[in-house]
């Protein structure tokens, strides 16, 4: 076996490194300006009060340009100054340089300072206020007291809608199984290596599923509410979309981890592609698929509460107005019902999954 010579960083890698460095340095400078204005000149121009107001006044263009300039200089003088964080990020750092302890490099100290600056800037940007956290407790105590004294008034209605929630989550999962099962084979890398067309389908499918999953179920609920109207069916559809994307990911990862042996054996009998999948792959993945599907139902029960908040049916639908009106006793009842349901689902699904695998 021959050892492969290290590949010199390509132009694309160098460009990526420069881009990352420019962004880092520009962000660094802007955070510096933010802290400076907030701490050193708190009343500059007489009107700076909130973090947002400072953010509006930062010199984005100038400091962005300065960041780019420093990055270019650092790249040009890298023999003197050592590799940049961007080069390290892009994986273009020479072996010898990446073995130097971090505290002996400019890159290391810059990174440390950057993280510290981020923390202090973040403290001000998110308006952290420990004073109110420790002194204003009595207002929250009222809410907590309400939650701890559940009112029986919504118990029956809550139970009925809890049942609807469980069914809602179940239907979303059930509808998700067939498409996810079929798509998972095309989204498994080990089954799509043979031809360029299959590789393209793999990449396209993975990307589409990742994008689908990146969109919150809440957003899907809003889309489907305007499509099929307010109610549990909209919730089913919202969770269905999200479940398909998640199950395709879980299923296909399972397919990628199968034992290749039986597949080869079936192929060697002269079997066609579908037969190889049916005999060489499916028997191996059915138990984990069942396990993932039950887990997904469990997750869907939790998610359906939030879906209900925006009109997707289930128990969340009656929880929202009570939160808005401050009926804490009734909120307490509903929260308790949800907690018990989630807890039971969790136990049951864990138990079943243990039995299957």
């Amino acid at each position: 076996m021959k050892r492969v010579a290290p590949i010199p960083p390509s132009l694309g890698t160098r460009f990526l490194a420069l881009l990352v460095d420019s962004l880092l340095l520009a962000t660094f400078l802007l955070m510096g300006e933010f802290l400076g204005r907030a701490l050193v000149f708190p009343v500059e121009e007489g009107s700076l009060r909130t973090a947002q107001e400072i953010l509006e006044r930062l010199h984005y263009a100038a400091l962005g340009g300065a960041g780019l300039l420093i990055a270019v200089v650092w790249h040009a003088a890298r023999r003197l100054l050592g590799g940049t964080p961007g080069l390290s990020f892009a994986g273009a750092l020479p072996q010898a340089e990446s073995e130097v302890p971090w505290d002996l490099t400019l890159r290391g100290w810059f990174t440390l300072l950057f993280v510290e600056l981020t923390f202090f800037t973040g403290w001000l940007v998110t308006e952290v206020n420990l004073g109110t956290f420790f002194t204003n407790f009595d207002k929250a105590a009222g809410v907590i007291r309400g939650l701890l004294h559940p009112s029986g008034a919504v118990l029956f209605e809550g139970l009925i809608l809890l049942i609807q929630t469980l069914f809602l989550a179940f239907m979303a999962t059930a509808f998700a199984i067939p498409p996810a099962f079929l798509l998972a084979f095309a989204a498994a890398r080990n089954l799509t290596r043979e031809s360029p067309a299959a590789k393209f389908v793999y990449t396209a499918l993975r990307t589409a599923m990742n994008l689908t999953r990146a969109v919150e179920p809440l957003v899907w609920a809003l889309i489907f509410i305007s499509w099929v109207g307010i109610g549990p069916f909209a919730g089913v559809l919202a969770l269905w979309v999200h479940s398909v994307a998640s199950l395709v990911k879980l299923y296909s990862e399972q397919i990628e981890s199968i034992d290749r042996g039986p597949m080869d054996a079936i192929k060697a009998t002269g079997a066609g592609t579908l037969q190889v999948l049916r005999y060489g792959v499916v028997p191996q993945v059915i138990p984990p698929f069942l396990s993932f599907t039950i887990y997904r139902w469990d997750i869907n029960v939790r998610m359906s509460t939030i879906i209900g908040f925006v009109g997707g049916g289930g128990i969340g639908y009656i929880l929202k107005p009570r939160v808005d009106l401050g009926e804490w006793g009734e909120v307490g009842t509903l929260v308790l019902l949800i907690a018990v349901a989630v807890w039971v689902m969790d136990l049951v699904s864990a138990r079943i999954r243990e039995r299957i695998v």
Binding site: V4, A265, K267, T269, L274, Q275, R278, Y279
Partner: protein, 259 residues
């Protein structure tokens, strides 16, 4: 009088994407009815050679034909028809663990069964009777309903032989068929392979690393070293000097002390 040619391998090479040359310009010819043993260290290319013959692996260069038909250029249905001619037996048995023994043997008939029927495991009565006969032949006739993973290694390998037999093959490719088995059980499996060779006239190409097994079962043997064919001959031709040239000077052999 020589038998017709079963398998021809001409100048076969396989280079993996990482640059490793698994097979280097290998040529050989196997005649019908032969029991050819393929010797060599792990990683010498034995498994790659066998898998190129039924195209589980695509060779980089060279040409292979079985029973006069070109394997290297075959695609789709033509390739599947050629694969049916060659039953394969694996070191790890490669049964479908969650299927019954009977369904595993029936999967040997997939190449001649319609796709739709086979997706629902609907095999004909004739196929079922044939599967039972194949199981009887390897002494597993009473275990048809067991789940494959409930069997011992030796039993699983016998079921795998029945699966290969179910293909009605003219050639058997056996890739280290007994290497994962207890030494005491090796002959019980090898004897079934030998029976197919002797009684059915099925040509056998079998990679082995056990020299005693080679001497007992093979009619001819070839040896690979680092992907190259380094020796070819009758089992009795493999003397100590030859073996050292195959396995390296550090190698020791059980019969060395005695001789």
């Amino acid at each position: 009088m020589t038998a017709p040619v079963a398998v021809t391998v001409e100048r076969l090479s396989k280079v993996w994407p990482d640059g490793i040359r698994a097979l280097d310009d290998v040529s050989l010819e196997v005649r019908e009815g032969e029991f050819l043993a393929v010797l060599g260290l792990s990683g010498s290319g034995k498994s790659t050679l066998l898998r190129c013959i039924n195209r589980l692996i695509d060779p980089t260069e060279g040409k292979i034909s079985i029973f006069g038909r070109d394997v290297t250029s075959a695609e789709g249905a033509g390739l599947r028809a050629l694969r049916r001619e060659a039953g394969m037996i694996f070191q790890q048995f490669n049964l479908v663990k969650r299927h019954s023994v009977r369904d595993n043997v029936l999967s040997g008939a997939l190449g001649r069964t319609g796709t739709l029927r086979s997706l629902f495991l609907l095999f004909s009565d004739a196929d079922r009777a044939e599967a039972q006969a194949c199981l009887d032949r390897v002494g597993m006739g009473d275990r048809g309903d067991s789940r494959a993973d409930a069997l011992s290694g030796g039993q699983q390998q016998r079921v795998a032989i029945a699966r290969a037999l179910m293909q009605r093959p003219k050639l058997i490719l056996a890739d280290e068929p007994v290497a994962s088995l207890d030494p005491a059980l090796r002959n019980s499996v090898m004897r079934h392979v030998e029976a197919l060779n002797r009684e059915e006239g099925i040509t056998v190409i079998c990679s082995l690393h056990d020299l005693d097994l080679m001497k007992r079962y093979a009619t001819r043997a070839v040896a690979l070293r680092e992907g190259k064919l380094v020796h070819e001959g009758k089992p009795e031709d493999f003397d100590l000097a030859t073996l050292k040239s195959i396995y390296g000077q550090e190698a020791e052999f059980g019969f060395e002390a005695a001789s």
